[in-house]
Amino acid sequence: MTTVLESLNNALYQALSKDENVILMGEDILSPYGGAFKVTKGLSDTFPGRVLTTPISEAALVGIGTGMALRGLRPVVEIMFGDFITLIGDQIINHAAKFNWMYNHQVEVPLVIRTPMGGRRGYGPTHSQSLEKLYLGTPGLRTLSPSFIGDPGRILMDVILNGHQPVLFAENKSLYNLSTEWETLRKEFFIQEIHPKNADTYSPTYVISIQGAPEANLTIASYGYMADLTRQAVLELAYQYEIFVEMIIPSQLSPFDYPEIVRSTKRTKKLLIVEEGNLTLGWGAEVVARTIESLGSQIESIRRLASEDTPIPASRPLESSVLPSVESIIEAARSMV
């Protein structure tokens, strides 16, 4: 079994092997430690001098990566916890993401910023958030988020080697130990892989339904670890409640381009959006807005499921109560159909 973590680690290894311009930087990423979540494990042994441990200076780190990218390298920066991306806001918004357009396309910034997001580990309010929502819609920034499905490593490797613009690569921590094997999934699910028109490297949107199920009567859009919870909920919804779902799972969150959500919702007339970031002004809000702009009164029902608008508590029962779960997805779906 290959886990998401191994897949990402292998992608970094492959990228470093294939292009000597690839450089990894981050806090505590050297062997034997290999980063707080071990995504960079072992890499500094094989590529000394190209895997650099840094001071606790997230803003400078992203700035240095931007400078390297402007001068022809392909840097990958690890931000130890996604919560810390608040510290790199100026570097992303006023620098890395602006340069290509502001300088009239005279430069490119192929910079990848990887970071683990999400809760369920009891790390509490400042180490459990899904903050990618803060950056979605930033002009010039691409945001990718792998899920249980497909090949997370391929998404990462392709953007490191072939990307043209700054990328925020949000990895939900709960994904790391999941398997990336497709074969068992394919027995159960019919999986279509669609490539967004606005993606310049591999970052498919998946359209998934249960093999042989009747036509779907609900569309659920989700990404990251929420896609795995949705998968579990979808099975139960089908077998227990005869609610048949078409799942839409993008791996590119922004630029925002999900014609599959519109197409699916046009058929099912019902759309549920599941995300781990907090509800207000989140990813789901934009999905709702765009879908309604497209379909208007053809939609019968639309709902968002997200984390509560509170900080994420440390205590396990408290934390569980604010994050979406398989049960809350089932409940939301049942309320709509």
């Binding site: 840094t54 001068r71 100026d90 357009w101 300088y103 630029p255």
Partner: protein, 317 residues
């Protein structure tokens, strides 16, 4: 004391000082006429810094400049018509009118209008060039006001740790917009850089030759040692921070102009007739660049200006 140089060199340096001075005067003179859009931060009084420092530059070296970038851009060799056009928002501008006064990119010259944010980027550029063994170095500019930004110190720390071949040029004009350094900076400025173990030199001069000589020593060190250095230039700006926002007393500025004008100081080395010839030629060139830029077209409005980044659902197209 500045080194003795021959007359051709002196004349060339004077021409470059005069170019920046006349360009910036033209900018301030024409702003009220409404030909420029947005704002500006002129380099009046600080001309010798860019001209002196860049006299140490070799082809392919990199510059990252800040909001007060016109002087740096012109001293780097940037085109006056393209700069005027950029400030007017014309399609012939340095960045096609997208950036305006503080956001320039041409060859290996870059500028951005965020205080301090450019320092890690310039540091990253220097580290990249070192890794590529290109032997290029980076010049990055900051002002006294920028010393309030935390990312400055993150950058200095890493530049020193990783021995980035970069010259940090601090232009201390003693006032940040309207706030004098006494109200913004605790302790010694120089000590802030030395604390990171970076080779730091300080100069209180508006003499282009002195500045050039001091920069030359540091640049030689950077190239030989593949390590960072800091040049603190204590200087004066004659004009407002932007336009009409100078809170200093008129007699204070008058006395600065008398004692610290780079054109007067360096001009003393050149005969009066030659100076007036240089000045007249420069006025004519700048007038021509300005008129061309004025006649240049505005950018064509693209329906989809975001290009790659612009999206919409198919149903709406």
């Amino acid at each position: 004391m500045a080194s003795i140089v021959d007359n051709t060199v002196n004349i060339n340096l004077y021409q470059r000082l005069c170019q920046i001075r006349t360009f910036e005067e033209t900018v301030l003179e024409n702003f009220p006429k409404g030909v420029f859009f947005g704002t500006t931060h002129t380099y009046l009084g600080q001309e010798a810094n860019a001209v002196g420092v860049f006299d140490t530059m070799e082809p392919g070296d990199i510059v990252f400049s800040n909001h007060r970038c016109h002087g740096h851009f012109l001293a780097y060799g940037g085109d006056m018509r393209a700069l005027f056009a950029e400030m007017m928002g014309k399609s012939t501008g340095v960045c096609g009118g997208r950036g305006g006064s503080q956001h320039l990119q041409w060859r290996d010259f870059y500028s951005n209008g965020i205080q301090g944010g450019i320092l890690p980027i310039a540091t990253g550029m220097a580290i990249a060039e070192k890794k590529k063994e290109s032997h290029k170095i980076v010049y990055v500019f900051l002002g006294d006001g920028t010393l309030g930004e935390g990312v400055v110190y993150e950058s200095l720390n890493i530049a020193s740790l990783w021995q980035a071949p970069i010259l940090f040029v601090l232009e201390n004009n003693r006032i940040a917009q309207t706030t004098p350094i006494e109200q913004a900076i605790a302790g010694e400025i120089r000590a802030r850089f030395e604390a990171f173990g970076i080779n730091t030199e300080e100069l209180d001069s508006s003499d282009v030759l002195e500045i050039r000589d001091r920069a030359r020593n540091l640049v030689k060190y950077i190239r030989e040692q593949n390590a960072p250095a800091v040049l603190i230039l204590n200087t004066y700006r004659f004009g407002p921070h932007s336009k009409g926002d100078d809170t200093r007393k008129a007699d204070e500025i008058d006395s600065i102009r008398e004692t610290r004008d780079p054109l007067i100081i360096h001009g003393a080395r050149i005969d009066a007739e030659k100076k007036s010839q240089i000045r007249n030629e420069m006025i004519a060139k700048i007038h021509e660049a300005f008129e061309y830029a004025l006649a240049d077209p505005f950018p064509i409005i693209e329906k989809n200006p975001g290009g790659l980044f612009s999206v919409g659902f198919e149903g709406q197209r």
